[in-house]
Every structure is written in structure tokens, then in C-alpha cells.
């Protein structure tokens, strides 16, 4: 079953009269249920923009995006928000945690937006934190946690809604290799256990290598990794820094 479908999706930036930058150029993509899809590419290749388009955070100039059977841009803003709060988990490179909240409160935020009663929120948040190995840090303040722990809180927040799809934007980009590997393993394991789909954008070929399907993105264009290996691998290998 296809959970995410993109057809000829294009997104450009620029003002009239100025140079236009096409961040996502006529992208076609299908993501099947229960699979791990990786999108590789150097900084500025458009992979983060594509992820935001898939999350319904950015409107495409052209093309159609269907997620879990919903044509995203036929939904209202509130309906898109509800789709994210109930079916789509998002993991950010820089964690996206609110420093004024505790770890458990951060994890419980999507449930709060969905109107889940407080005691249930707390139970689900503690369970999610336990799953990522932070069962003892429920009441911890964010600035008391290490980078790896913060990203685990971010993953717990994505998992707490029992999502059908998780979109992860460079989740290991701010971590050292060891920590990054552990966090990614944690994320893949949790997604596999739930039978959910994971879309990971990364500039790291090692991380991408763990995916069921790999795509490469360059200058806004998306290609299957095998087809682009000859033209892009040398540049991908040399690319560094965040997307």
C-alpha cells in the first residue's frame, strides 16, 4: 500500500525579477507502508524542502502530494495540522524541543494538541520515553540532557502518537558518529516494531545504506540511488554539512 505519493511536485523560491531557485523540481515519489526510505543529497539539494512538502508544511508550486490517502493541499490548514498531530511523526536535526518544558511535557505536546486527557498523555509520554531509554528522565529539563538524549526525546515525541509515517530530517546531523548510530538504530527499531513507514533525509551514505529504498537528490531532482550512482556518488561522497 502506498502511504506517500508525490507526482511532479515542484517548489521554487525567489521574488519576481530576481533569480529563481528551484528547490524541488518535478519530483515523483512513492513510499510504501512499513518501509524505510532514505533520501540522500548534499547541502542545498532540496531534500529538507521535500520533507517539509511531504509534511504539509510547505505548499508546492505544482504537482500533487497524497499522504495516507489525503491530497494534502485539498485539506484545510486545520485538517493538515490534525493529520500531523495524529498520523505523522517528525524528527528534527536540531531536536525542536521547547526549553521551557520537561522531557515528558515535550513528548506529550502532540497529544495535548489532539485533546488527549492529561493522565493519558502522561502515561503515553512516559511509555515513549521508556522505549527510547529515558524512563528515568521524565521530569528532566531539556538543558539538563545531552545531545543524544535530546534527540531520543525528539524521537519519543514522534513515536508517542503511534504514527503511520515518520519523517526524519537529518536526525543524526547534530550527534557524534556513535551517538548518531545508536539514535538511528533506535528510530529504525521503533518504526519497524510499529509497522510504520520512515522517510529519512540525510547526507550520510552510511545511514542511507540501512534503508529499504534509497533515493538521491541533486539540484532539486530525485533519482533512484542505483540510477544516480555513476553521476552523483563522487559528489555525494565529498559532500558534508547539513542539508
Amino acid at each position: 500500500m502506498i502511504v506517500i505519493s508525490c507526482r511532479a511536485v515542484t517548489r521554487s523560491y525567489g521574488t519576481p525579477g530576481a533569480t529563481t531557485l528551484t528547490a524541488v523540481d518535478a519530483v515523483d515519489l512513492d513510499v510504501e507502508a512499513g518501509t524505510f526510505t532514505a533520501i540522500e543529497g548534499p547541502s542545498g539539494s532540496g531534500k529538507s524542502t521535500l520533507l517539509c512538502l511531504l509534511a504539509g508544511l510547505e505548499a508546492p508550486d505544482r504537482g500533487q502530494i497524497t499522504v495516507l490517502g489525503h491530497d494534502l493541499w485539498r485539506l484545510t490548514a486545520t485538517e493538515r495540522a490534525r493529520l500531523r498531530q495524529r498520523r505523522i511523526g517528525i524528527v528534527f536535526q536540531s531536536f525542536g524541543l521547547l526549553p521551557s518544558l520537561t522531557a515528558a511535557e515535550n513528548v506529550a505536546l502532540p497529544l495535548a494538541f489532539a485533546g488527549t486527557p492529561e493522565h493519558e498523555r502522561r502515561r503515553h509520554a512516559e511509555s515513549a520515553l521508556d522505549e527510547v531509554g529515558l524512563g528515568t528522565s521524565v521530569g528532566a529539563r531539556i538543558d539538563e540532557l545531552s545531545g543524544g538524549e535530546r534527540q531520543r526525546v525528539g524521537i519519543a515525541r514522534a513515536l508517542v502518537i503511534e504514527p503511520a509515517v515518520i519523517l526524519a530530517d537529518e536526525p543524526t546531523g547534530s550527534l557524534d558518529v556513535q551517538n548518531g548510530d545508536n539514535v538511528l538504530g533506535l528510530l529504525i527499531g521503533a518504526v519497524r516494531r510499529r509497522g510504520a513507514s520512515l522517510v529519512l533525509v540525510t547526507h550520510d551514505p552510511v545511514s542511507a545504506a540501512r534503508a529499504d529504498r534509497r533515493y538521491a537528490m541533486f539540484d532539486g531532482r530525485l533519482r533512484a540511488a542505483a540510477a544516480t550512482a555513476a553521476a552523483g556518488d563522487a559528489r555525494l561522497a565529498g559532500a558534508a554539512g547539513p542539508a
Binding site: T78, R84, I88, I90, G96, L97, L98, S100, F113, A114
Partner: protein, 906 residues
């Protein structure tokens, strides 16, 4: 080079610059408009003081001089608009003999005027009858004293012993002519000598042919203080004797040439006097009545200056606070720009110089724009008065002061946070906002120090004792010492900082806040509370700006309402009650029952006689203590050492009881229980010595003049003098005063004059605060509303800038648009409720302090301040609407937030 970089920074960060400029411009506009209000008020006071003056100057022809020669000199002066002839002859006594009964009264004056004099000056209008050739029209007092009516003949005894008999053809009003009829000797005038009330008017030609030839050259007028003191012999005159005959020219000046400022106006009047007298070379003397009218304005203007201090200080505080809020709102872009310049190799001193330069340029730009807007608003509101008060020069001066003051203060306010912003990178800068360490002023306790300092200065300087004092010339003046400015400044500064400390303290303990906001606003409310706790310092500043704006408006509204309340009390005091009914003929105290009827709730008889305490003439107010309290307003503050009820009880306790003014008690060293011998006129006008017992001190009393007066029992005075004629009756309306006035006038018909409160209130609007206060209140409240909107908008926009990533994250993880919006609305709600609540409270306190310190503005002082509930509610509603506008601005900023761009920010 630095300047170029600074200018480039201002231009390349338009949002940063605009936020700062708007905040500073509002403060500059407020200060400029308040300064120009001061200038305009000075002019209004001058115009108002001279508007009702029928004659600006009296030219007294010297012995041997001629009116024609003087007229040619006077009319040639470019400042003179019109000149009228006026002749005055004193008489020693006047008598009638009707049906074998002789009635006599004491001194007075015969006036000779041209036919056009009344139409030109508005003086000596006929109340009844007419002025026939060879006959006279007499004042109501002369008619009352002699029982004379048109058709009777009055025999006048003239100085030098001759008499002249003149037939009465009408009754004339002498209202407004006190200054012209009184003595011209300066010392005599300064002592506030009572003008004659026995006055007869006749044609100038008739006076010249029928009266003047009978008065010997060089004769002098009888001193009224000695008149009627039969058997005692004349007292030694205190002042120079008045000539028995005065030949005068009455001059009206071109008021369009008059400068607006009272001090400049007096200089101009002096220059006119010197110019004309120089031309006259001793042939005449110029008596400057216009200057005399301007002199008492010194006290009004001094009070006005104190009022301005209170109105300008909040403006200065708001300038500081708004500039700081603007700095908060632009902190993020400042840090980013600093990081960019640092990356390009700029060293710290260069960085500081560029940002300081940009801050000064922004402050200067905002100040200039605001000052021009403030000047435009002031011109729209007070245009005519401003033009006369110096026009362009006054406006430029106000703009200059406002620009200088606002630029300095705004620069200082913006530089304080800039220091921290330049020190840190963006990430650590964000942490800086969340620091737990209190700012330096809190650690030093500057708020408490300023408040204690204010109290010390207030007590040491006798703040509560800032009342007008009489100067050597007998005019009320107020000396403004530096301490007059210092105490209010310290109060405002300390109060603002203390409010900042308290609000910050409460916000930082915000657990209750999250619970309170979660219920109405859901998770967005919870997040708003967390955000407020995290940004407690900035939130406290926004709340304080709002509180200052609301407090400022509330205190001004309260002051205005109290002033209007006291203006009505003043009118009631001057008139005596809702209605004052004066008979043109003789009416005994027992004959006023006819006044009662529809529209009238209560009536009381009232006698006002000029009596003599030693040589000093004073007004004796003889009242009926049984009926007066139900008719006339009697406040406790009218009486020293006792309330109104106690004072009336003291009068009732013994028939000969008398209340004296504090001045009389002090001059004669008398205390309650002491006996007083006072000369009171009987029915014939002859003074009789009557004994009284002092029962207390009256500071104010209905109908009483501002100087010395006495209050006694009407029945006792009537019995002792054999004269029970009332001067007038006072009445309280049973509902609408104007309707009651019309009903009484219709019921009584001719022979009575009815005056009511509404006409008196309009005539009394003579103080600086009465003049433009309504416009000023409107202006200040408008500014308060704009300041509230801009202050809260700046805070919300600063929050948006600070929380861009946080808000983008919330959207990404599924916050619905209304939930994101409610995080902003929650902040606005807390800032709005806290700001308006504390503002109303502090406004009330400031209003009370203002009323206490400015007690001298009110005559009489207010027992209780007036609370303008409707206006305050309307102002609060307008501020709530302005907050909704600010929220809409922030919401628009939120809707334009690029989630993708914000998520990429570090």
C-alpha cells in the same frame, strides 16, 4: 566611516529601525504636545483674563490738562483701538425726601459718559427706565439704600459743601465697573479697596454743566472708611486722598497685538504705557487696568507648570519603556547583524561604535518624526492660541526640547540591552533572555531608593504645602523650586521600577498562570504561560508600559473630573446656590415666601452688607442658619478646625455669634469667644457699632469674596441695625436648574433678577486648567491608547521573533492554527489584564497624589476626588480594542511565518 556603517545598518534593518522609531516617535509626540499645551494655555489664560475687561487703561487727566489734548496723543498710538470720555465726581452723601420721610445714604460717585460709551464698553446698561437729558440713572444699591424709584429726586451733597438735586429716570447696572469706579491711588488699589456702590450715571454734558461747577478745584473725596462714623471724628486716611473729580479717557487696546504669554503681555502693556506717557509729558497718568488683571495669573500659571510636570513625567517614562521594548523586539536582528559584522572582521570597539551610531540615528529620527506629529496635533487642537503664544517660534522651541530629551533618553534606554546583545552570540543571547540573575537596578534596590528619596524630598520640601503665597505686592505667586520637580520624578521612577520588580516576580512564579490559561485557551494557553515565565523580564516591561499608559490616562481623567466637580462647587460658591434671586426694590427677609413654588425645593434669605472692622471694609454675610444648609453647598473644608454642621451649630448657639476669615483672626489676634465691635450700616446707610462674639473661622462661604468676610445671624443683624432688607435670596432647584430659573423668573416678573448656576459656571472658567484641559485630556488619552497598542504589539512581535523556531516546531508537530494563535493570545491576555489592572490602580494612586499636591488649583480644595467611571470604562474599552489591534498585527506576523525557514534557523 562609522556613521556610514551606522546609517547602512539603520537602512538595511528596516523592521528593526521601524519598531524603534515608532516607539520613540510616540513618546516625542506626547512630550511635544504637552509642551505646546503649556504655551497655548498661557495665551488662553491671557485672553480669558482680558476678554471681560471693558477698559484696558484709564488715562487720568492731570490738573490743567485737557481731555482733547490727551485724546489726540492717545489715539495716535498704534496699539490703541478706541478711546471714550469718562468723568467722575464724588459725592459725600445722597438723600431723598418722600412724603415727609427723609432717607440718607453715604458716599458715592456721579458718572458722566457719552451716549456711545455703553455700546462700546458694555458697562452701565440700564436695568429699567431710561437716561433722560438732565436726569440720572442710579445703581441698584443707591436705589435700595434710599428707597428711590424712577421719578424721585435725589439730593447729592458734593465735596466743598454744595448740593445738587437730580431726578431719577432709570436704574443702571454697575456690574464689571469695580476697577473704574474704585480709587486710582496704587496703594489704595493694592489693598483691595471696595469700590462705591452708590452710583449715579448721567450724560457727560449734564455732569459738566450741572455738577462739576459746584465742586471746588482741588477738593478731595471723603474716605468711605470714615463716612458715617458720627461723633468719632474722621480717622487719619491711610492712603493718598482721592480727588473729588476725575477727568478720564477710557482706552481699549488692539488685543490682536497682545503677546500670548502673560509675562510677555505685561511687558507689552508696559511698553505701551511708557510710550504714551512719554508723549504726554506729565499731562496725564496712564492707569494700566489690563496689567492689573494679568497679575493674579502668576499663580494659575505656576500651578499649570506643576501640572505639566506630572503630565510630562509619564511621557518621559514611557519614552524610556517604549525604547526598551523596541530594543527587545529587535534584539534578534541586532545579534544577527552583530554576528555578521564580527564575521567580516569588525572588532568590538568598531561594532559598538556602529551600533551606538545606529541607535542615535534611530532615536533622532523617531524623535523628529514624533515631535512633528505632536506639534501637528497641538496645532490642530490649540492652533489659534499657539499662533498668539509665539507661533512658529514656540512650536520650534517645543520640538527642539522634545527631540533633545527623547533622543537622549531613548538612546540611553536602547544602549543598556545593546551591551548584552553585542557581547553574546545568538544562541547564548537566547539564554541571556532566560537568565535568572536580576538586573543591576534590582540588585541595587534603585526602586526603593528612588521612592524613599521621593518621600524625603517631598517631606523636606513641604510638598503638601505647595500653596500660593502673597508676594510683597499682594499678588498670589508660587515659587517652583528644584525639589518641586525632583519629588514627582523620583516617585515616577521608583514606582515604575517597583512595578517592574513586582510584575517580574509574580510572572517568574508562573505555575498558577499556566493553570489559569490552560482552561480557556487549551495547550496554547499553557505554552503562553511557559513563554511568559521564560520571558518574564520582557513581559514585565510590556505590562509596565501598558500600566503606565492606562495609569497616565486614568490619572488625567480623574484630575479632569475632579476639576469639573470643583468648578461646579466654585460656581455654587460664587452664586451661592442653584439660583440667586435679587430684588430691585426693598424686600424684607420675611417676604421671600413668594419665591417658593414649582421647581424650587428650598429658599433662604441672604444679606450682604459692607461693614467695617476697624478701618477695613469687609463683607458681612448675614444668614438664616435654619434654612441656609438646605439651600447652599457647605463643605467641611470651608471651615477651619470644624465641619460645616459644627460651624452652623456654633452660629445657632448664640445670636451674636460670628464667623471670621482666617486673615481677620490673624490680623486682630482673635480666638473663639472674643468680642468684636463692627460698624454695620443701618437702613439709612449710617454705620452703627454692633457687638459680636467670634464663634469660629470660615475659609470659604457661598457668595463670599475671596478676601476677608464675616458670617453672622441675619435676625441679630436686622435687630441691631433696624434694617431687615435682604440683599438677595438663594434657592435650591427641585430638578433642572435652568427650568427652575425660568419658572421663578416668570413667577416673580419685573422687580427681580434671577441668576442660575449654568450661566455662572461658564463665566468662572478662568483658571489655566479650565481652559484647554478637555483638549489635553483627549490628547493624553489618545496617546495612552496608541502607546498601549504599540507597546503590546512590540512585545508580541518581539515574542514572535524570539520564538520563531519554537512556533515553527509547534506547527510541525501538529499544533492547529487556532492553538498556535492562542499561544500569542494568551500572552496578550496576561499582559492586557495585568497592565490594565495595575494601570487603573496606579492611575488612581497617581490621581490622588496629583490632587493632593495640586490642591491649590482647586478653589475650594476638593474634599473627595471625582471618579469618572463612564470615561474610565470607555478609555479601558478603547485600550482593549487597541490590544486586539496589536494582537491582529502579531497574528499577521504569525501567518507570514515561514515554517521551513524558521526550522532551519539555529
Amino acid at each position: 566611516m562609522i556613521l556610514r556603517h551606522s546609517l547602512r545598518l539603520v537602512l538595511r534593518e528596516p523592521r528593526r529601525s521601524l519598531a524603534a522609531i515608532v516607539g520613540i516617535a510616540i513618546a516625542a509626540a506626547l512630550i511635544t504636545s504637552v509642551l505646546l499645551f503649556g504655551a497655548a494655555s498661557g495665551n488662553t489664560v491671557t485672553r480669558r483674563a482680558l476678554a471681560d475687561l471693558p477698559v484696558d487703561a484709564q488715562v487720568i487727566i492731570a490738573n490743567g490738562g485737557t481731555a482733547a489734548a490727551a485724546r489726540s496723543i492717545v489715539t495716535a498710538d498704534p496699539a490703541v483701538r478706541a478711546v471714550s470720555d469718562f468723568q467722575l465726581a464724588h459725592f459725600d452723601s445722597a438723600a431723598t425726601n418722600k412724603a415727609g420721610t427723609a432717607t440718607q445714604t453715604s458716599v458715592g460717585v456721579l458718572i458722566g459718559i457719552d451716549a456711545g460709551y455703553t455700546s462700546q464698553t458694555g458697562l452701565f446698561g440700564l436695568s429699567s427706565g431710561s437716561l433722560q437729558p438732565g436726569q440720572i440713572a442710579i445703581s441698584r444699591d443707591l436705589a435700595s439704600n434710599l428707597g428711590a424709584v424712577p421719578g424721585d429726586t435725589i439730593s447729592f451733597s458734593l465735596p466743598g459743601g454744595a448740593t445738587v438735586a437730580l431726578r431719577v429716570s432709570g436704574i443702571v447696572s454697575i456690574a464689571g465697573a469695580d476697577l473704574l469706579l474704585g480709587p486710582i491711588d496704587p496703594a489704595h488699589r493694592a489693598a483691595g479697596a471696595n469700590p462705591p456702590t452708590n452710583v449715579a450715571i448721567m450724560a457727560a454734558g449734564d455732569l459738566a454743566s450741572m455738577v462739576l461747577p459746584r465742586i471746588p478745584t482741588g477738593a478731595v473725596a471723603t474716605d468711605p472708611g470714615t463716612a458715617g462714623a458720627a461723633g468719632r471724628g474722621p480717622a487719619t486716611p491711610v492712603f493718598a486722598p482721592e480727588p473729588a473729580v476725575r477727568m478720564e479717557l477710557h482706552v481699549r487696546l488692539d488685543h490682536a497685538q497682545l503677546p500670548g504669554d502673560p509675562a510677555s503681555a505685561q511687558l507689552w502693556l508696559d511698553s505701551v504705557r511708557r510710550r504714551v506717557e512719554r508723549q504726554g509729558a506729565g499731562a496725564f497718568t496712564w492707569v494700566d487696568d489690563a496689567s492689573a488683571s494679568l497679575e493674579p495669573l502668576g499663580a494659575d500659571l505656576a500651578w499649570g507648570q506643576i501640572l505639566f510636570i506630572f503630565l510630562a513625567l509619564p511621557g518621559i517614562m514611557l519614552a524610556l519603556a517604549l525604547s526598551r521594548l523596541a530594543a527587545d523586539a529587535t534584539a534578534d536582528s541586532t545579534r544577527r547583524h552583530a554576528a555578521l559584522l564580527r564575521a567580516r572582521g569588525a572588532k568590538r570597539p568598531e561594532l559598538v561604535a556602529v551600533f551606538v551610531g545606529a541607535t542615535v540615528l534611530t532615536a533622532l529620527g523617531g524623535s523628529c518624526i514624533g515631535a512633528v506629529i505632536g506639534a501637528a496635533a497641538a496645532v490642530a487642537l490649540f492652533g489659534t492660541d499657539l499662533a498668539a503664544a509665539g507661533g512658529a517660534a514656540a512650536i520650534l522651541a517645543a520640538i527642539g526640547v522634545a527631540v533633545l530629551l527623547t533622543t537622549l533618553l531613548a538612546t540611553a534606554a536602547a544602549l543598556l540591552p545593546l551591551r548584552a546583545q553585542l557581547r553574546e552570540e545568538i544562541g547564548s543571547g537566547r539564554q541571556e533572555l532566560q537568565r535568572n540573575r536580576p538586573p543591576l537596578w534590582q540588585r541595587l534596590g534603585l526602586d526603593v531608593v528612588a521612592l524613599v528619596g521621593g518621600v524625603v524630598v517631598y517631606v523636606v520640601a513641604g510638598g503638601a504645602g505647595l500653596h500660593p503665597v502673597l508676594n510683597a505686592e499682594g499678588n498670589p505667586t508660587v515659587t517652583l523650586a528644584l525639589t518641586s520637580f525632583l519629588a514627582p520624578l523620583l516617585f515616577w521612577l521608583g514606582g515604575t521600577l517597583l512595578l517592574l520588580r513586582i510584575v517580574g516576580f509574580v510572572l517568574r512564579r508562573g505555575g498558577w498562570l499556566a493553570a489559569s490559561l490552560r482552561r480557556p485557551l487549551g495547550p496554547g494557553g499553557d505554552l503562553a504561560a511557559r513563554s511568559l515565565v521564560a520571558r518574564a523580564g520582557a513581559a514585565a516591561r510590556a505590562i509596565v508600559v501598558l500600566a503606565l499608559a492606562v495609569g497616565f490616562a486614568t490619572s488625567v481623567l480623574m484630575f479632569d473630573a475632579t476639576y469639573r466637580q470643583q468648578q461646579r462647587v466654585d460656581a455654587e460658591l460664587t452664586l451661592g446656590a442653584d439660583l440667586k434671586v435679587t430684588p430691585t426694590g426693598q424686600v424684607a427677609s420675611g417676604q421671600i415666601a413668594g419665591l417658593s413654588g414649582p421647581g424650587i425645593a428650598a429658599v433662604t434669605p441672604f444679606v450682604d452688607r459692607v461693614v467695617y472692622v476697624g478701618p477695613e471694609a469687609q463683607d458681612l454675610l448675614a444668614i438664616d442658619t435654619a434654612t441656609l444648609p438646605a439651600v447652599a453647598p457647605l463643605a467641611d473644608s470651608f471651615f477651619a478646625g470644624s465641619g460645616a454642621a459644627a460651624a452652623m451649630a456654633a452660629l445657632r448657639a448664640r445670636p451674636d455669634a460670628i464667623l471670621v476669615s482666617s486673615e481677620t483672626a490673624k490680623d486682630y489676634s482673635i480666638v473663639p469667644g472674643d468680642r468684636l465691635r463692627i460698624r454695620v450700616p443701618d437702613a439709612t446707610g449710617t454705620l452703627r457699632t454692633v457687638e459680636f462674639t467670634m464663634a469660629g473661622i470660615a475659609l470659604e462661604f457661598p457668595t463670599a469674596p475671596k478676601d476677608a468676610f464675616l458670617v453672622g445671624n441675619l435676625a441679630y443683624v436686622a435687630a441691631q441695625t433696624g434694617n431687615d432688607r435682604i440683599s438677595f435670596a438663594l434657592a435650591r432647584a427641585d430638578g433642572d436648574v435652568a427650568a427652575a430659573s425660568a419658572a421663578v423668573a416668570a413667577r416673580l416678573g419685573a422687580g427681580w433678577q434671577v441668576a442660575d448656576l449654568s450661566t455662572t459656571s461658564a463665566r468662572l472658567a478662568n483658571s489655566i486648567t479650565a481652559v484647554d484641559l478637555r483638549s489635553l485630556v483627549g490628547l493624553d488619552v489618545s496617546f495612552a491608547i496608541v502607546i498601549a497598542a504599540v507597546g503590546v504589539a512590540l512585545f508580541l512581535l518581539a515574542g514572535l521573533a524570539d520564538r520563531r523556531r519554537e512556533l515553527a516546531t509547534l506547527i510541525a508537530i501538529g499544533a492547529e492554527p487556532r492553538q498556535v494563535r492562542s499561544t500569542i493570545a494568551g500572552e496578550a491576555l496576561v499582559v492586557g489584564v495585568a497592565g490594565i489592572g495595575t494601570g487603573l490602580l496606579t492611575g488612581g494612586l497617581v490621581g490622588l497624589t496629583l490632587l493632593q499636591i495640586l490642591a491649590g488649583v482647586f478653589d475650594p480644595p476638593a474634599d473627595l476626588p471625582a471618579i469618572p467611571l463612564t470615561l474610565t470604562a470607555a478609555m479601558t474599552a478603547a485600550i482593549i480594542v487597541s490590544l486586539l489591534v496589536a494582537l491582529a498585527v502579531a497574528d499577521r506576523g504569525l501567518s507570514r511565518l515561514s515554517v521551513v525557514a524558521a526550522l532551519r534557523e539555529r
